[in-house]
């Protein structure tokens, strides 16, 4: 197995773990955790492609990963703010019980 394929397989495994968690957990915060894992797996792909690309001096992969990390941080802040707002309203973070968006 080539090194790049190994990195991509690890990233695919992490992405699937995050997806499984986001789809199966009850707690809204852990769904966010699953989404963070998926974003990290995507970043790993970007860095691995940069490492084994024929033109790494362009720095495209590293730049993409850095911007992706910044966007993910903003997403985490807004997502957790939403979870806290929903918790204040419903007194629960159980997604099976939160079935209305109307207050």
């Amino acid at each position: 197995m080539t090194p790049l394929a190994a990195s991509l397989l690890v990233a695919a495994l992490m992405f699937s773990i995050g997806l499984a968690g986001a789809l199966t957990r009850r707690n809204a915060i852990l769904v966010l955790v699953g989404i963070e894992l998926m974003l990290n797996a995507a970043n790993l792909n970007l860095i691995a492609f940069w490492r084994y690309s024929p033109h790494p001096e362009a720095l495209t992969g590293v730049m993409f990963a850095i911007f992706s990390i910044a966007v993910a941080a903003a997403e985490a802040a807004v997502g957790l703010g939403l979870v806290i707002a929903i918790y204040r309203h419903y007194k629960t973070t159980d997604l099976d019980q939160i079935n209305r968006l109307k207050g």
């Binding site: 090194p3 915060i29 963070e36 860095i47 490492r51 850095i66 966007v71 941080a73 918790y87």
Partner: protein, 166 residues
């Protein structure tokens, strides 16, 4: 592929698995920190020092703390009364397994076309800084605006609703 890579990959994957499988939400957040650290070490192993340290600063430092705060502010730290998995967990598991099968098979079947440069590239921070201030200046400004807007939005969303106020 070196042994170090597989050890780091095992740390990241096992941390992620534990974050998704453990029962207590606080333990999940701690396992997630291990997964983030494993990913950062993988970045360092692949030669992207700056991205690795940014990963440690942003994820291990900030996002993990934010998650722990959110867990403690909600009632997530108490043990769940009935199962931690949703009623439709089987469908989610099947979808995730199918996604992994598709991704894995496509990676394995396209292995020969993937690039494999053996010389490790250098990405000194000076060059990254010059690239950020040069060709990437517009994305950098947009990220700055996005982060400001997201932080203000997060504060407004999480603000306490006043009693009797619409």
């Amino acid at each position: 592929m070196s042994l170090v890579f597989w050890i780091l990959a095992a740390i990241a994957v096992l941390g992620g698995l534990a974050a998704m499988l453990l029962r207590s939400t606080v333990h999940c957040a701690l396992a997630l920190t291990v997964a983030f650290a494993g990913i950062a070490l993988l970045f360092l192993n692949l030669g992207a020092q700056f991205a690795g340290f940014v990963q440690i600063l942003v994820y291990v430092g900030a996002v993990a703390i934010l998650l722990v705060f959110a867990i403690l502010l909600t009632r997530g730290s108490e043990p769940p009364t009935h199962g931690v998995f949703s009623t439709t967990w089987l469908a989610g598991l099947v979808i995730a397994a199918a996604v992994f099968a598709v991704l894995g098979s496509s990676v394995l079947s396209s292995q020969r076309m993937l690039p494999h440069e053996s010389t490790a590239p250098a990405a000194p921070v000076v060059e990254i800084g010059q690239a950020l201030a040069g060709p990437y200046i517009l994305p950098l400004e947009m990220i700055a605006v996005l982060l400001t807007a997201a932080l203000i939005g997060a504060v407004i969303i999480a603000l306490h609703e006043k009693e009797g106020e619409q």
